[in-house]
């Protein structure tokens, strides 16, 4: 039981770890693309947290099985939210990359410290 409870939180811990890995990359890396990659890990971690909370033991995806009574379904709401969030994430990423491309064109580098030096 103890072990099981421990494992029941595993998702959240992985969420925390991933979040930190992404966050670390965003803060510590000077390379702009690396920052964006970190950002996408960071966001993915949050998706994981949401999706983790929708799971029901013994349940299944929330697509109603006609005629089956007593079926447990996982919670559709976080899924909807994360669907939205994924698309938001990729939109932000695309915009960020566009900016990075322009930075590369104008500065000739995508390293933050070199950009700072250039101005």
């Amino acid at each position: 039981m103890k072990l099981f409870e421990f494992l029941g939180y595993y998702n959240y811990w992985v969420f925390a770890i991933l979040l930190m890995i992404g966050f670390y990359a965003v803060i510590a890396k000077a390379n702009l693309i690396k920052k964006l990659i970190g950002l996408s890990i960071f966001q993915s971690a949050v998706f994981l947290m949401y999706i983790s909370m929708d799971k029901v033991e013994g349940g299944t995806a929330p697509i109603i099985k006609p005629g089956v009574v007593d079926q447990l379904y996982s919670n559709p709401l976080p899924q909807v939210l994360i669907l939205t969030a994924i698309v938001v994430g990729v939109s932000t990423l695309a915009l960020g990359l566009a900016i990075v491309v322009r930075i590369k064109e104008r500065y000739g580098t995508i390293e933050e410290n070199e950009i700072l030096d250039a101005d």
């Binding site: 960071f42 947290m49 969030a85 915009l95 930075i103």
Partner: protein, 501 residues
């Protein structure tokens, strides 16, 4: 169904749907005209909403016909109404003034996209304000942020790009933090509707996820709001953005994040007074520190736009300091200052935009004797600057008055805060006066010919100047007759503090 009932929805939908239309219809003159028309429509809607709010209504709208916790509800009360007025007003004024400045800064063929982004920014900001759903706030926050990045990226200088990138990274981190916070609250309450959340959070407020959620929501929104130590993105973004975009964003960009922040703190986390107290105790030093430090930085900043940007950071400190007093009058002051600061900063940046039409370089030194060739603009800058300082007769004074009154209520501790407000006002005198002095400096005698040249080219009276004068007039008007924002602000504080009225 009564048309008026759709007002909250229209407020969002109209600019939202106008954006693709503008991209669809390419000619650029049209793009500007249509955007401006939409913004004015939006402004009209927000005025209509404000009128109904003043009549004592709270407007509710069930999106998709689904009742509150199931569907997404729009809910407009006095606090929302005043922020709506700020956003749509700032949009309308900056847009109508924007044409020449934008023509100068954005190439013709990019303009439809630019204006579409502008509309999206309006829609996003407005959407955050009218909605009563925590996740919906996130979605519209992202619309407004993305549109904001685009708008700022329109800046001419290459330094715009790193600035936008930084803004993008920090903005996304902020939004994601917010999302984490909302997720944790949702995890513990099972709902996303703010009111429902507030009810269901009662009794579990000491659970750790809720406490941590409060922290995440706070940090996330503080990032977006550029609260003092988290403000690093703001100065560069404002400095390098196209001038008219700076006008718009400075007037309402960070205010909306503050709005959401206050909403959360006072409606969701209010049920546990102890937390609220902690919030206030945490916020207050940050606000005070922000006021002082940002003002000092502004004092030594040589670039006009950057200087005003730092002053914006300080002003956010004022707003949050009012809120951190947690009293009726404190929140009134805070809300009022949102409104008045929007007016003031809007006017100042409009003046900057106008200066930019004749002065390519916006460092303060290079604006020497600008008053000779641009007397009206310079004068407008003076008035707006006085409003920023908080000289009586201007809008800025009203909110500072309210703020100090609110601080006085707290008793002896208050004197330190009063002192800080006063000191920062003095610093504001310093940095504003530095500009004014430069503007009115009489050209030194060894350059008489240049001076003559400048004075030959008279100030062009265009929409920008008219908008500027109008805004400055509003600064004075609301400094003398602050009834409208004051009433709304008082209603807001009652709503936030859940005082029956």
């Amino acid at each position: 169904m009564d048309f008026a009932q759709h007002l909250p929805a229209l407020q969002v939908i109209v600019p939202l749907l106008a954006a693709p239309l503008i991209v669809l219809l390419q000619p650029r003159g049209f793009a500007w005209a249509a955007t401006t028309a939409t913004a004015f429509f939006s402004f009209a809607v927000s005025i209509a909403i404000a009128v109904r709010i003043l009549a004592g209504d709270i407007l509710r709208y069930e999106m998709g016909g689904w009742f509150a916790p199931i569907g997404i509800e729009l809910r407009v009360d006095a606090f929302s109404a005043i922020v709506l007025l700020i956003i749509s007003g700032a949009a309308a004024i900056s847009l109508i003034a924007a044409r020449n400045s934008i023509n100068q800064q954005i190439e013709d063929h990019r303009q439809p996209l630019f204006f579409a982004a502008w509309l999206l920014a309006i829609a996003g900001l407005v959407g955050m304000v009218v909605t009563a759903d925590a996740f919906n706030i996130f979605v519209f926050m992202e619309i407004s942020s993305l549109a904001g990045y685009i708008l700022i990226a329109g800046g001419p200088d290459r330094r715009t790009l790193p600035a936008v990138f930084k803004y993008l990274i920090i903005g996304t981190i902020g939004a994601t933090f917010y999302l984490i916070g909302v997720g944790m609250i949702y995890m513990m309450t099972g709902t996303l509707n703010l009111e429902d959340m507030a009810q269901r959070v009662v009794g579990i407020e000491d659970q750790r996820p809720i406490l941590v959620a409060a922290a995440f929501v706070f940090i996330g929104l503080a990032l977006k709001a550029a609260l003092f130590p988290l403000h690093v993105w703001l100065p560069n973004a404002y400095t390098h953005a196209p001038h008219m975009v700076t006008v718009f964003l400075a007037a309402c960009g960070t205010k909306v994040a503050v709005y959401v922040l206050l909403r959360f703190q006072f409606s969701i986390f209010q049920s546990f007074g102890e937390h609220l107290l902690q919030f206030a105790l945490f916020l207050m030093p940050l606000a005070l520190l922000g006021i002082i430090v940002a003002s000092l930085v502004a004092m030594f900043e040589g670039h006009l736009k950057r200087m005003l940007a730092f002053s914006s950071v300080a002003q956010i400190g004022y707003i949050l300091m009012g809120a951190s007093l947690m009293s009726d009058s404190g929140i009134t002051a805070s809300t009022l200052h949102m409104f008045n600061h929007a007016l003031t900063k809007g006017a100042l940046f409009l003046a900057v935009a106008k200066f930019a039409t004749q002065y390519a370089d916006l460092r303060i030194d290079s604006l020497k004797s600008a008053a000779r060739s641009m007397p009206l603009t310079s004068f407008a800058f003076v008035i707006a600057g006085l409003s920023l300082i908080g000289v009586p007769g201007t809008a800025g004074f009203i909110s500072k008055w309210q703020l100090i009154m609110a601080i006085m209520e707290t008793g002896n501790m208050g004197f330190i805060m009063v002192a800080i407000v006063v000191i920062s006002s003095l610093i504001a005198v310093g940095y504003i006066w530095r500009v004014i002095e430069t503007l009115y400096a009489i050209p030194t005698d060894d350059l008489p010919d240049d001076a003559a040249d400048v004075s030959v080219k008279p100030e062009k009276i265009d929409m920008l100047l008219i908008a500027l004068i109008f805004t400055v007039a509003m600064n004075i008007y609301f400094g003398l007759v602050p009834g409208l924002p004051l009433t709304l602000a008082e209603l807001s504080s009652k709503i936030l503090l859940k005082v029956e009225f």
